[in-house]
């Protein structure tokens, strides 16, 4: 038997021990390869696949590489630790360190090669399926399977170098331990549970501070807080896992009535050691899981916003201008010409909207004419409005406002012209997007509208009203590049106004729903493709960390359970002991991550409220539930194997 044969047989005959390491490597190769296939796809034009910039996918791929290197390194370390005894026997028999390194290197390369080959094979066979999904997400016509050498070479290069480096590093930098310790296991287990009370409390305080800040987030404080909160939370979480848990466990321990009860004593004492030894890992896991939650939750939010977009923005193009806007005619005729050129059908409505002062609130109110509104409603196919003299109707600005306004009756007088109006109904659909109309918009009958001779009190300092041109375009998605030039001027000025808080200087405003939608869709697609990858890898890694950690400690655990079995614990108690032992490891980081992301979404919701009226609660709950169920299944699986092993 040569040395190579020995290494080979080690791998082949111990396939069960190697399986975990192999699976972990295999899966990361698999995911990496599939994404490389997308990265080198011939359909990519100018760095864009559909409307997703490839640049961000490269970034995601790099994150994936860094992460999978770390991941392989970690599993390797755990794996070597689990086999310490075997190595000790070899060293005892006179193998030198050099040979041992070579043995580990050879074995790692064998597993590495196997996982690379299988990962690529499976990856290639699943590529078509993946492309089909991506095609659906990106709304591409087709995304064919192709063959080129780049993805293969990239994957092999990245992972081969990873395996070589990691196996060299993990052997050479492994702390030199005495054979006798390896052979019999260390005589004593290090169980110091040092912590400082100050840090323990600091951890909780920092986390709570972060939460409070996230609840207080508004649009103005957004930028400052989005830097502050992650720092607070990260540091807080670190202290939480390193010190706070120890502190809590210690407090529980000092109360014997609670502590010395049934198997509680064992599990509590165990937790303090588990968390001391693996606190850093749990911290990383909690943060990683938070990231995964955030990306999935964000995805769900975007998807809900995208699906509601049509309803919230019923108009294809909107042009809004001052009464004396000199460019009005030019712009409208150019828009009409562009629409004609593209052969898109449209329905143009011209509104004259007047500002008046309401006696009810003493504020301005925007007044629409019944026949103007009916012209637009006709093209929507919505029911018409019928108002007689003295009647008015609210125009809703959001779904919520329909409910709020439906039970309100307002008796008001339009002060400038002394026209009395009773408003007691609301139109049951959204007619204009919320960015266009004010919160105080009503429709009155043509008769009343004709009475509004005198302009708004604030005139001439303020505009007395505006002209509104709406284009209802059935194929609004295709109208994305209509009025592109006007849009650019408007966008440039709007962004200036946003930073300087000055008054909007242009006499006109233009919005193209199709264009906005295409931006939204691009972001959404990007998040889907990139976010799903990152979330999947993070979750997998988080799960595997626990698996490897447990795997390494299995021998010690088994011995402990052997003692307990002799002392007389029943199978039921053993199971509950295992459950109590594993539960915190799985669900504490998960729970912390859930809480973190929950507050992150609170903040997100309050920011979103300002410019898009979408509620994300349902989506977020759903995605959290989904992830928790996955974690639960994983927990059951591990628990089952664990019990089987310690009962052997």
């Amino acid at each position: 038997m040569t040395f190579h044969q020995f290494a080979y047989r080690n791998v082949i005959r111990n396939i069960r021990i190697y399986a975990a390491f192999f699976m972990a490597s295999f899966f990361s190769v698999f995911v990496f390869f599939i994404y490389s296939m997308l990265l080198f796809h011939p359909k990519i034009e100018n760095g864009y696949l559909g409307n997703v910039p490839i640049f961000w996918m490269v970034i995601a791929e790099i994150i994936l590489v860094v992460f999978s290197w770390f991941f392989i390194f970690y599993s390797m370390k755990a794996f070597l630790e689990a086999r310490a005894k075997e190595f000790a026997i070899l060293l005892h028999l006179g193998m030198d360190r050099q040979q041992l390194s070579r043995l580990v290197f050879l074995e790692t390369m064998m597993i590495g090669a196997m996982s690379i080959i299988l990962g690529i094979l499976f990856g290639y066979s699943f590529s078509k399926f993946f492309f089909m999904i991506v095609r659906e997400i990106l709304l591409l016509d087709d995304l064919p399977l192709y063959f080129s050498f780049e993805p293969f070479l990239l994957t092999i290069a990245v992972y081969l170098s990873a395996f070589i480096l990691v196996s060299l590093i993990s052997v050479y930098f492994a702390p030199e331990r005495r054979i006798i310790d390896l052979l019999y296991g260390p005589k004593t287990q290090e169980v110091s549970t040092l912590y400082t009370k100050r840090k323990a409390i600091l951890g909780i305080v920092l986390i709570i501070l972060g939460y409070v800040l996230s609840l207080l987030t508004t649009r103005t404080t957004m930028i400052l807080f989005s830097i502050c909160i992650p720092v607070l939370i990260t540091v807080g979480t670190y202290f939480f896992f390193m010190d706070t848990i120890q502190y809590i466990v210690d407090r529980v321990k000092s109360r014997k009535n609670v502590y010395w009860k049934k198997s509680r004593m064992l599990s509590i004492a165990e937790q303090s050691i588990t968390f001391k030894k693996n606190g850093k890992m749990f911290f990383v896991m909690a943060m990683v899981t938070t990231l995964a939650f955030l990306s999935i939750g964000l995805l769900a939010t975007l998807s809900s916003y995208t699906s509601q977009y049509d309803k919230l923005n019923p108009l294809g193009l909107i042009y809004k201008g001052h009464i004396d806007n000199p460019l009005e005619l030019r712009h409208i005729s150019s828009l009409v010409a562009e629409l004609e050129e593209q052969g898109l059908s449209y329905h143009l409505t011209r509104f004259t909207v007047l500002k008046q002062t309401s006696s009810f609130t003493n504020y301005e109110v925007e007044v629409f004419r019944e026949s103007d509104i009916n012209s637009l409603l006709f093209s929507y196919g919505y029911p018409m409005v019928r108002l007689s003299k003295g009647e008015g109707m609210f125009i809703p600005y959001s779904e919520e406002s329909i409910k709020q306004l439906s039970n309100r009756t307002v008796h008001t007088v339009l002060l400038e012209n002394k026209v009395p109006i009773t408003i007691d109904q609301v139109y049951p659909e959204i007619i204009f997007p919320s960015s266009i109309i004010s919160l105080n918009s009503i429709v009155i009958s043509d008769e009343d509208f004709a009475l509004l001779d005198r302009p708004y009190m604030g005139y001439p300092e303020e505009e007395p009203g505006y002209h509104l041109y709406t284009f209802d375009i059935p194929q609004w998605v295709e109208a994305a590049d209509i009025g592109y030039k006007i849009q650019q001027v408007v966008a440039a000025e709007s962004s200036k106004v946003e930073y300087s808080k000055e008054k909007y200087p242009l006499p006109y405003y233009f919005e193209n729903a199709g264009l906005n939608y295409s931006f939204l869709l691009a972001t959404y697609s990007l998040f889907t493709v990139v976010g799903l990858l990152v979330a999947a890898v993070f979750l997998l890694a988080a799960g595997s960390f626990i698996y490897f950690k447990i795997h390494t400690n299995l021998e010690v655990e088994r011995k402990k359970f052997d003692v307990l079995r002799r002392m007389g614990i029943s199978n039921k108690e053993l199971k509950s002991l295992v459950t109590k032992h594993l539960m915190p490891q799985f669900f504490l980081p998960l729970g912390v991550a859930l809480l973190h992301s929950l507050f992150a979404f609170f903040a997100l919701q309050s920011i979103l409220k300002n410019f898009a009226n979408v509620s994300i609660a349902k989506e977020v709950v759903f995605s959290f539930l989904f992830l928790t169920i996955i974690e639960l299944i994983y927990f059951m699986l591990i628990r089952w194997r664990y019990i089987a092993y310690v009962r052997e």
């Binding site: 169980v191 004593m265 002392m567």
Partner: protein
Amino acid sequence: MPILQIEDVTKVYEGKVTHRALNQLTFEVEKGEFLAVMGPSGSGKSTLLNLISTIDRPTSGEIIFNDIKPQNLNSTELAFFRRRELGFVFQDFNLLPMLTVEENIVLPLTLDNQTVEVMEQRLASLAKKLDLTHFLQKRPNEISGGQAQRVAIARALIHEPSMILADEPTGNLDSNSSREVLELLSKINRERQATIIMVTHDPIAASFCDRVLFIKDGEFFNEIHRDDRRQTFFQRILNVLSLLGGGQVGDLSSIRLP
């Protein structure tokens, strides 16, 4: 009235290689007796101890414990039987490293869901008797081997079992600690009328007992009772051991001499 009856117990390990670990072994243990089981490696001592501690079942034959037949109990009942009737002392102590000394001692009681008052009361009296008071708050890795074994004995005693099973309790101890532990065991045996079965290689350890049972290749070989003087008892044990080794009387046995 014997507390434990072993009747024609045979244990065969099935597997790729069938191995008969015990063959029709029969003996009895009286209440309050301190019994040593000796025999060379592979003679079936550990198998016997596993059978008595009910974590393994005999292939044939019966073990009767105070009129209870553990074979007839289901696994949960067995667990309850073990936690109430048996106490264990192991060669490598097997104290749980994450618990402090006092927590290790009360562990059997917490498993049995006793009240804290009972636990503290018994802990206090045992700690005093076994001289553990000054290191109760320490961890197992902070105490010496002899202290660890005394803690283990306290753990085996705290639930007042009817029988204590000791597997090479002095195997990992130096001679002073060994003597301390053995004297402690025989003191417990005398004062509490505790029945102790001790498996050992060590003739000195065996000489502290009332009776020594020798087994060889899973079968009963010989037994000798203690007489007035430990010195002569020790000599007789050595004689049987050299017989057991298969050679002539006077030869060194295959097992370790002190």
